[in-house]
């Protein structure tokens, strides 16, 4: 079975600031403290397309997986299981759009998670606000005998995913605030000189 849910969030910050904050979400010095489930992030591909002006990036995000039932841990054999996610993004600065698709690369025999996010200027206030839309689907692929338990794992994954998603959005808000403070300080400096 597939569980799917949608989420919308309005950032009261302009698009360039929110997308900057979104990049920093996983690379900020505070990331290990705030998003403790994120263990490691690497950029695997980075390409500025000269024809379209779009930036294409692929990153790997290594996260601590939700705790698994005992017998699944035995099947998988790991104590602290880590899970690699692949995040592919396209940023079009002229259209002011940023699209991100994140999928899990690990444990795909058990579960498939896909999260699609888009950051766009908010239609009601395109210069001042940014709309984040997220569509998430989580599909468990159980062995027949394990179906009931798999469903519990799935539910746990959904809960964990939602908690982390909220943490991620809050952190982006926080980074936006300090980017705002930085840019007003820079503007004040420029006026003063």
């Amino acid at each position: 079975m597939v569980r799917a849910y949608k989420h919308e969030h309005i950032y009261r910050h302009p698009w360039d600031r929110v997308t900057t904050a979104s990049w920093r979400k996983f690379t900020d010095p505070d990331t290990p403290a705030v998003l403790s489930h994120v263990l490691d992030v690497h950029t695997l591909s980075h390409r500025l397309d000269a024809a379209s002006g779009c930036l294409h990036t692929v990153r790997s995000i290594t996260v601590r997986s939700p705790s698994l039932p005992f017998f699944l841990r035995r099947i998988i054999g790991g104590e602290a299981v880590v899970c690699h996610c692949i995040e592919t993004s396209v940023v079009d600065p002229r259209a002011r759009s940023m699209e991100i698709v994140a999928v899990n690369a690990s444990l795909r025999g058990l579960i498939e998670v896909e999260e699609r996010s888009s950051y766009q200027p908010h239609p009601e206030n395109p210069e001042g606000w940014t709309l984040l839309r997220q569509d998430t689907s989580i599909r468990c692929k159980p062995f027949k005998a394990l179906a009931a338990v798999a469903e519990k794992v799935e539910q746990r994954c959904v809960e964990r995913f939602q908690q982390n998603s909220v943490k991620g959005r809050e952190f982006v808000e926080r980074i936006c605030k300090y980017l705002e403070a930085e840019s007003s300080a820079a503007a004040a400096g420029a006026t003063a000189s």
């Binding site: 698009w15 360039d16 600031r17 997308t19 900057t20 990049w23 920093r24 690379t27 263990l39 490691d40 690497h42 950029t43 695997l44 591909s45 980075h46 390409r47 500025l48 397309d49 000269a50 024809a51 379209s52 002006g53 930036l55 692929v58 790997s60 290594t62 998988i76 790991g78 104590e79 602290a80 299981v81 880590v82 899970c83 690699h84 692949i86 940023v91 600065p93 002229r94 690369a105 690990s106 444990l107 795909r108 025999g109 980017l179």
Partner: protein
């Protein structure tokens, strides 16, 4: 099952930080504001990528890294009319 117990390529942490710092600055000050007159952070990216190519062991991630290299210049010969290089 495609997972490992330790984080991949921790040897590249410093090169990664140098690249991410450069990238974040470029993205916030230029690219996100539509001022992408030239690609920056190329040296930082090449050093970091070289380190990953040497040290990244996880097979799936490694494949993505190496595939990306092959398609690094896919747009040669395209009409550059929408190029952000020509817009500034």
């Amino acid at each position: 099952m495609g997972f490992v117990k330790s984080s991949p390529a921790s040897q590249c942490a410093d090169l990664r930080t140098a690249y991410h710092d450069c990238f974040n600055r470029w993205f916030s000050e230029r690219f996100s504001k539509g001022k992408c007159d030239k690609e920056e952070c190329v040296a930082e990216w090449e050093k970091y990528r070289g380190c990953l190519a040497e040290n990244l062991k996880e097979k799936h991630l490694r494949n993505i890294l190496l595939e990306a290299e092959e398609s690094y210049f896919p747009n040669k010969g395209h009409d550059g009319s929408r190029s952000c290089f020509n817009h500034q």
